[in-house]
């Protein structure tokens, strides 16, 4: 099952994903996809190093949907995280 590594950025808690060039980015669509367990192990090792360098916290692998070509979240929780905002308008947004 295709998956990506996700975490929160230590400094501000933002949702981030591991990219091809080993950066931690906020756009899920540009995340690096692991196609199998071996590839995922590599991503997990990179995440462990980033955790040790105080870049991220709480890293975990997350299943993704590749129907459109780019990785997309599958669960409601991950869709909300990937959107970087709640599904409702905030009180100070246009109602």
């Amino acid at each position: 099952m295709p998956s990506v590594m996700t975490a929160n950025r230590l400094q501000d808690g933002a949702v981030v994903y591991l990219s091809d060039n080993e950066n931690w980015i906020t756009e899920l669509a540009s995340a690096r996809v692991a196609e199998d367990g071996t590839q995922l192990e590599i991503l997990q090792k990179i995440a462990a190093e980033a955790t040790g360098k105080q870049i991220i916290i709480g890293a975990y692998p997350m299943d993704v949907d590749l129907t459109t070509g780019a990785p997309a979240a599958k669960s409601v929780r991950e869709k909300i995280r990937a959107a970087r905002r709640p599904t409702i308008a905030a009180v100070n947004e246009a109602r």
Partner: protein, 551 residues
Amino acid sequence: MYRYDEFDRTFLIDRNREFRNQVERRLKGELTEDQFKPLRLMNGLYLQLHAYMLRVAIPYGALTARQLRQLAMIARRWDKGFGHWTTRQNIQFNWIKLVDVPDILEALAEVDMHAIQTSGNCIRNVTADPYAGAAADEVEDPRIWAEILRQWSTNHPEFTFLPRKFKFAITGALEDRAAIAFHDIGIRIVGGPNGTVGFKIFVGGGQGRTPYVAQEMKAFLKPEELLSYLEAMLRVYNLHGRRDNLYKARIKILVNAIGIDAYRAQVEEEWERTRQEDIDLPAEEVARIRSHFTPPDLEARPLDAAAFAKRRAEDAGFDRWVRRNVIGHKNPDYAIVSIAFKEPGRPPGDASAEEMERVADAADRFSRSELRITYTQNVILPHVARADLIALYDELKEAGLVAGNTDLITDIIACPGLDYCNLANARSIPIAEAITDRFADPERAEQVGDLRLNISGCINACGHHHAGHIGILGVDKKGTEHYQITLGGSPDNDASVGDILGPSFPAEGVPDAIDTIIDTYLAQRNDGETFLATYRRIGATPFKETLYGTR
């Protein structure tokens, strides 16, 4: 209001300096997340879905206008311009950066506020009747004792690492508006022999995955015995509470496992052994704290009854607001006013920075600069002259804060749910919004009458669903959000845990289900009978039949 002294301020400055250092060490890698997490939690800092969340303590829900303006400043400068009133009378900021937290805590300390013990396995913010000091049915102002409990429990060396979090609530009124039956320890101020005043103590209430209504622990406790007795209660719990199982670690599990009589016997034995240890406060210290809560000097302010009646007759919105949001005060020239943060399109309990400032202005002008946050996620102005009600209404109307729906079906308690929370299984806010939209016609909501509808996005029950007349619990059913409905809960004097009606509903089915429940109630109710009274009279069966048919 309690005013900090030099000791309080120095303590807070030292504590913030310590946490600033801990944040710096975390960012440098000198502390791992495992080491840092208990430290940040003790300072109210969580990591949620999108960002860090800072929960700021509002002791017993009491706030000054100056403090509220500072919260508005924090919302604007370090968050996304809003905050969220919580069901523990606190405020949460949802979009906080770790690197900003030391500065935010300093900004809070400038107005004698902090985030200490808003998380962690310690004694949390003590909650109380939001009408304290103003309620017509009050025996004694509970804030005096809530403040004593706050000072006693803050950094208490023995109770900083309890088996699990610990929540107190206290009321000094005949009507319980603090849900004391759903707390680890609930305290009711009661009259005693010969005109004395003391405490009735309840223990073992709570929500979460194992809801219980608290049981009576002690019928009457003298004021000078309060702290030593509570200390004995906490000690027995601290010794026997289940540290091996997160789900069985609350005092409610202990009390129900060994029985209230066995628990009481152990507490009494411990109390006899330890009550001479100078735990109780000397009378002069109680008097010193009491002096901070001297009733305000409210001058006579007779109402122009004719002008008031005319406005009510001409303005249906004002009339409804008076009916629903204006509450009797112990001084007949005055009223307690509820400012509702519940209306179509507003996440329940969310307040923008601008709204906070407008409400602070209203408090300065009309309520001795005093405010209260309710556990139902609204704001109270405790001392408003009836003669000022029209002017206050007009001012709040400009701010868009005159929903006249206190304790109606649209006055929904909802947790942040899966839109923000790391623990949630399902969203709460969109369900609250859909139900609010369904009952947006204020006449219909009023026709339904008093109704507490509470929504939680997971079994931890921050949205108090067990105590709702109608409770809604979000669950994850094979990857989709479903909602289980309970009926018959109550947070009041007649506290009860709601009964699960039947199979859960998908999100889109919830408003129709609530509609069906309300229609069933309206068809079955006797004259003047509330939803809860009807449910208690007819039971769940008629509701199950209309909801599920022969399923």
